[in-house]
């Protein structure tokens, strides 16, 4: 049996929750005030994901281009995704939404531009 502590991010209450897991299966969640807390805890324990925003090199200028993943990726893959992005140099012009790096670390998520470069 494994015990995990979490803080709910849905509202400023920041409920401190406790979950017990057995063999990777959640057996109980306590400490939440509303249903959203429990849902968050179950998701976060099963498969924590994050949107990643980052910067990418632009050919011919010092100012980097801001990018984001177009869907959340596994939290554990954040630094791998950033490392993969580190090898990319984009060529202007670039429009918002343009894919800068596709299928980041095999996640099906893409890094897309979040600003225009002329």
């Amino acid at each position: 049996m494994e015990e995990r502590e979490l803080i709910c991010i849905n509202c400023p209450m920041g409920c401190r929750m406790k979950a017990t897991l057995e063999g990777g299966t959640i057996t109980s969640v306590t400490g939440f005030t509303c249903k959203r807390g429990e849902t968050y805890a179950r998701e976060e324990l099963t498969r924590p994901v994050r949107m990643v925003t980052a910067l990418v090199r632009v050919k011919g200028r010092a100012q980097p281009l801001p990018v984001k993943t177009d869907r959340p990726i596994d939290k554990d893959l954040i630094f791998d995704a950033l490392a993969a992005l580190g090898h990319v140099t984009v060529q202007p012009p670039i429009r918002i939404g343009e894919v800068v790096l596709a299928n980041v670390c095999g996640t099906c998520a893409n890094f897309v531009a979040t600003a225009n470069v002329r």
Binding site: I7, P12, M13, C34, R50, L55
Partner: protein, 417 residues
């Protein structure tokens, strides 16, 4: 010196200024001019490359840059003139502004109405009077954000963050992403000023400790920062001798509060509220100077940009109406901040209200299971139970037109525990 006349002059091309300009145009004002000191519009959003914007305004999660771009496109589509690289250096109570730009030199602008949307600045180290050396390596979080996100420059490699405002938390994650080591986030108060979501996703995700009830008591390093002393504070927020700990670092980022940039407002004679640091306005966002309106972070420091846009749109619309000849002086019925309520906006209401009125304020502390109550003439006109209220998040109170009624009786808002 060149001269021109406009219907509505908006000072500041950030989220507030753009939304005000668009709304003024949509309300029928023919000539709307937005001036911004920087070379591109968007204000602080230009450097906010993180997500979390637009959930209220667009129902989707955008980065700051994307949020800004939507408003920039809308402003151009609507025919708002946006003059960048243009700084307003003077404004009179008669709504005559002096602006200066490399493109057009000095210009006098006579405006039917003016919207103040200059935003805010970060509290610098000096304002805290943190003792120690004045070496390099001490930045406000927003300045560091600009260096990294807009200039591609790294402020340093071993970082301590003082203050747990959202910009500080966001920068903790950004610096970590960029390969720096963030040693700690130090917060004077017993609670964080930032969103829980940011504490979890910007600090906890990367094992960065949040030291509540602590502060930086010394800054060391002759040329470049070499370290800081961090100490616990007591209930009076004074450092407790003997609790000092040394953290070796080359960078200290400050996220210790934002101050509305009202220097220009003052030259026009706009009265400021000591509680918010912004103008005193009525429900139409009009200041004490007729025809001069204020919105966004120059009026009061917001938590979400979505609310800035919404407020600014109301200011822009009201300004357009004023410019079109619907001139009314600012309302004089006071809105009073009762127990638990910090600076409230608007501070005044007209005797006759045209529609529902939205009040915004921050609480003075943390309240759990409390009621937000508004009263007028001994009558309760609003009441809502809240699970939690924290100073970091603004409270919005929408008073229904019918419940509010009319007359000279003040409105009082308070927190009931």
């Amino acid at each position: 010196m060149r001269e021109r006349e406009v219907g509505v002059l908006v000072i500041g091309g950030g989220p507030a200024g753009l939304a005000a300009g668009i709304a003024a145009k949509e309300a029928g004002c023919a000539r709307v001019l937005v001036v911004d000191r920087e070379d591109a519009p968007g204000g602080i959003l230009k450097q906010c490359i993180h997500n979390g914007f637009g959930l209220q305004a667009f129902g989707e999660e955008l980065t700051g840059t994307e949020y800004a771009e939507r408003y920039i496109e809308k402003a151009f589509a609507a025919g708002v003139e946006v003059a960048c690289g243009t700084m307003a250096i003077d404004l009179t109570g008669g709504r005559v502004a002096t602006i200066v730009s490399r493109a057009r030199g000095l210009e006098t602008v006579r405006a039917g109405a003016v919207v103040l949307a200059m935003g805010c600045r970060e509290r610098p180290r000096g304002a805290l009077a943190t003792p120690g050396s004045r070496c390099a390596g001490v930045y406000t979080a927003g300045n560091a954000q600009k260096l990294v996100n807009m200039k591609g420059l790294m402020p340093g490699k071993r970082v301590v963050i003082l203050g747990s405002g959202d910009i500080g938390l966001i920068m903790a994650r950004r610096m970590t992403f960029m390969g720096a080591r963030v040693l700690a986030c130090v917060e004077l108060m017993p609670y964080s000023a930032g969103l829980t979501r940011n504490i979890v996703q910007c600090l906890d995700d990367f094992g960065i400790p949040l030291l509540l009830s602590h502060t930086v008591v010394d800054i060391k390093g002759r040329e470049r920062l070499e370290g800081v002393s961090v100490a616990a504070v007591d209930e009076t927020l004074s450092p407790i001798p003997g609790t000092e700990r040394e953290l070796a670092c080359d960078t200290l980022l400050l996220s210790v509060g934002l101050l509305p940039e009202n220097e220009l407002s003052s030259t026009a004679g706009v009265r400021l509220s000591p509680a918010t640091g912004g103008a005193e306005v009525d429900e139409n966002l009009q200041t004490a100077v007729p025809g001069v309106f204020s919105c966004g972070n120059v009026l009061h420091v917001h938590d979400l940009v979505d609310f800035v846009s919404e407020e600014a749109a109301r200011a822009g619309k009201a300004a357009a109406r004023y410019a079109a000849g619907e001139t009314r002086p600012r309302g004089t019925v006071p809105v009073e901040a009762g127990s638990g309520v910090g600076g409230i906006v608007p501070q005044f209401l007209g005797e006759q209200i045209e529609g529902d009125v939205k009040l915004m304020f921050r609480t003075r502390g943390i309240y759990k299971k409390a009621r937000v109550v508004a009263e007028r003439g001994g009558r309760e006109i609003y009441s809502k139970r809240e699970m939690i209220l924290v100073p970091g998040e603004m409270v919005g109170v929408t008073l229904k037109k019918d419940a509010l009624g009319s007359g000279r009786e003040p409105v009082r808002v308070r927190i009931e525990v």
